[in-house]
């Protein structure tokens, strides 16, 4: 068997054995889904709103090259330095260079999946710069040494009890079964980090081309505090986050909180003007490609860039519910994650080629039904399979599909094959058992499929019904 598939199976196997995690995740997801549905039901015409958001995303992506130029011009005019980075390596080098140049030793960051994608924190730690995450969930996974398991709820896979033990061990906080108490304590523990931070790192939910504004939404107030405390400010922005006008940001801000957390609006929405400067006067915006241009130019890739990273697709995904973000070897979890991974520039070779991840989907269709910007996720997963898997199929696999199509394209061959199957089942049942084991059916406690003694077509004939077509 393909060794990448084996590695993927091994990673999943480790997560599947953790029943406690599954229970914690399952009940969190149930609540998240209920909140999302309640929030969606408050829309006057949800489908119209989704279509509008989808159209805006389509339109802005169409104009992306022009929008990037516009955005840059406005920022430069306002003395914000713009850095274009091609991939994670360049992004890391730029950040490390900035910290060296400004003698920075302490950073704080807000929650950003792009920072995670680029492994910025890793590069900074390696160069001796301390990074403290200021979003509580993000801080928890940082202390636990986990990757965020969800795009908007990083510690969704952990139970309150686990978090309590972790915070007690790592920060000496008093144990509690009450999530609010833990949150309050953790929040207080971040006070010094805010005060001492020399450089603040944030992502962006939207970047507005016409006026150079950056939009950030959050619930904890940590971004707001970060913006007013950091002496130097660096914002990382994926190039797909550009929209043309402030009005274009509205449908996104309308749907993102509803889809992500079931809120009408988040507690804080920051509109960061290009004129804003932190106390040192130094402000940087890093525009990141890291494979996005490849997606943009690919047959099935462009619409993936419409994604607003709300996490709704993973909230409803049955695979995600069973393996959590920890089961995905991709940089983003869930249906959107396995698709984006096909294009994001590969950094380290862990032996799991991206196309293998396309199997992390049972094609149930729940994600594409819920996606607020109407990305046809399930269909895109199948389309990517058609684009990539035939090239990667082994000789055996190719032969299986070839025989399948020959058999079903030829009535004579089919009934011959069907007869053979039944003869083999009767005279050499062990062969059937082994064959099914080989393809992976009767494993892990799933019983053998035994062909019916008489196939339906035969029974039908016996019943003397007319069967002429």
């Amino acid at each position: 068997m393909n060794s990448a598939l084996k590695k993927l199976q091994a990673q999943i196997s480790r997560v599947l054995s953790d029943e406690d995690m599954h229970l914690a995740l399952s009940s969190s997801l149930r609540r998240v889904r209920q909140r999302m549905r309640a929030s969606f039901s408050r829309f006057h015409d949800l489908d119209a709103s989704r279509q509008k958001a989808s159209n805006v995303r389509d339109r802005t992506l169409q104009k992306l090259p022009t929008l990037l130029e516009k955005f840059e011009t406005v920022l430069v005019k306002n003395r914000v330095e713009v850095l274009y980075v091609r991939d994670a390596i360049e992004a890391q080098q730029e950040i490390v260079r900035l910290t060296k140049k400004n003698a920075v030793t302490r950073c704080i960051s807000s929650k950003s999946m792009l920072l995670e994608e680029l492994q910025i924190e890793h590069a900074l730690s390696d160069s001796g710069v301390e990074v403290i995450r200021t979003d509580l969930g993000d801080r928890i996974v940082q202390l636990a040494g986990h990757r965020p398991s969800h795009v908007t709820a990083p510690c969704l896979h952990m139970s309150t009890q686990q978090i309590s033990t972790l915070l007690n061990q790592r920060l000496g906080l008093a144990k509690s079964n009450d999530a609010r108490t833990l949150a309050r304590q953790l929040s207080q523990s971040l006070k010094n980090a805010f005060l001492q931070a020399e450089l603040g790192l944030t992502g962006a939910n939207c970047a507005i081309a016409e006026n150079g504004y950056i939009v950030l939404i959050e619930n904890e107030g940590n971004i707001k505090t970060l913006l007013s405390n950091a002496k130097i400010l660096v914002t990382v922005v994926g190039i797909e986050k550009l929209v043309e006008t402030l009005t274009d940001a509205a449908p996104i801000l309308d749907l993102l909180p509803a889809a992500a957390t079931g809120q009408n609006i988040t507690a804080y929405v920051s509109f960061l003007s290009p004129a804003y400067k932190p106390s040192s006067g130094k402000r940087y915006v890093m525009l990141v490609d890291n494979g996005r241009t490849d997606a943009y130019n690919a047959k099935y890739g462009k619409s993936l860039l419409k994604c607003i990273k709300c996490g709704a697709c993973m909230n409803v995904c049955p695979i995600y519910e069973n393996i959590s973000g920890m089961g995905y070897p991709s940089r983003y979890p869930g249906p959107i994650g396995i698709l984006l991974e096909q294009y994001l520039t590969r950094q380290n070779n862990d032996g799991i080629e991206p196309h293998i991840l396309l199997w992390l989907c049972s094609l149930c269709g729940a994600c594409q039904e819920v996606c607020p910007v109407r990305i046809r996720l399930t269909e895109l997963i199948i389309a990517h399979r058609s684009e990539l898997l035939p090239h990667h199929a082994g000789t055996m696999e190719k032969m299986v599909y070839k025989s399948w199509s020959s058999m079903y394209a030829n009535a004579g061959l089919y009934s011959f094959g069907s007869k053979i199957l039944h003869v083999v089942t009767r005279v050499a049942p062990l062969l059937v058992t082994l064959a099914q084991k080989k393809i992976g059916w009767n494993t892990h406690g799933r019983a053998l499929l035994s062909p019916a003694k008489s196939v339906l077509r035969k029974s039908w004939k016996k019943l003397n019904k007319r069967s002429n077509a």
Partner: protein, 248 residues
């Protein structure tokens, strides 16, 4: 009315009872059932695995077999229905085959869709008794690709002595997913096992599902793990064909 009953591959080979249950329902509705002699696979296996070239060969054969059909084509599987009705156009097919497909695709109905569209809810009753406590699990394609989920639910409510447990949280995939079930078998089986456990802890003895693959997958897990849950397709629950083994 003459109707064509499309026989999904898995039904023909492994679940003939399910096909016969569909025949029963259609005959109760006064239909004369015809099973197209040479009808084969809809191509879903190849399509879903990305083998569109091979799927196109299979689909072409099928389209040519069905091209002259003007009667309703009833499919007792929501995923085959979706493939036949919505997805064949993604494949590279000859123009004449696409035309032929467009000619009959509107006649394709998933079994419960047919019941709904032709208002057959009343005529197919009364249903035989089924003395069981069951959860109805909305199979993914029935949920997302047809709009007859509530029809099935309402019909099941009419089955004498069937106690339907209200488990609204059970909307999630059972873990079959076609080739997915063999590529990542541990995950696939775990998803099914977790679902069956929830049925068990709800105090039920039967799981009624809406598609063929789910029936096979969950039935095999129930047998393999010794979990005493009977898994039935809704067509079986509405007729007396509530076992998988017996042959006529």
């Amino acid at each position: 009315m003459n109707v064509y009953l499309f026989i999904p591959c898995l039904v023909n080979e492994f679940l003939p009872q399910l096909g016969l249950a569909a025949v029963d329902l259609l005959e109760r509705a006064g239909c004369r059932v015809i099973i197209p002699k040479k009808q084969r696979c809809c191509g879903q296996v190849g399509y879903n695995s990305g083998q569109w070239g091979e799927a196109a060969k299979v689909a072409t054969t099928l389209i040519r077999e069905l091209q002259d059909v003007t009667n309703p084509i009833i499919v007792p599987s929501a995923s085959c229905t979706s493939m036949l009705r919505d997805r064949l156009g993604d494949l590279e097919l000859a123009d004449m085959d696409i035309q032929a497909w467009n000619h009959f695709r509107d006649n394709i109905f998933e079994l419960s869709e047919f019941i709904r569209v032709y208002n057959l809810e009343e005529v197919i009753q009364p249903f035989p008794t089924l003395n069981r406590c069951a959860v109805f699990h909305a199979s993914c394609h029935l949920l997302h690709n047809t709009n007859s989920l509530s029809v099935v639910h309402n019909l099941l409510k009419q089955v004498p002595q069937l106690r339907l447990h209200d488990e609204p949280a059970l909307g999630a995939c059972c873990g079959f997913g076609g080739i997915f079930s063999t590529k990542l078998p541990e995950l696939s089986v775990k998803m099914g096992t977790r679902l069956l456990h929830r049925i068990k802890s709800a105090g039920c003895d039967t799981l009624i599902v809406g598609d063929v693959g789910c029936t096979l997958h969950l039935h095999s897990i129930a047998i393999g793990t010794g979990c005493e849950i009977q898994v039935l397709h809704y067509a079986q629950a509405l007729t007396s064909r509530d076992t998988h083994r017996a042959v006529p």
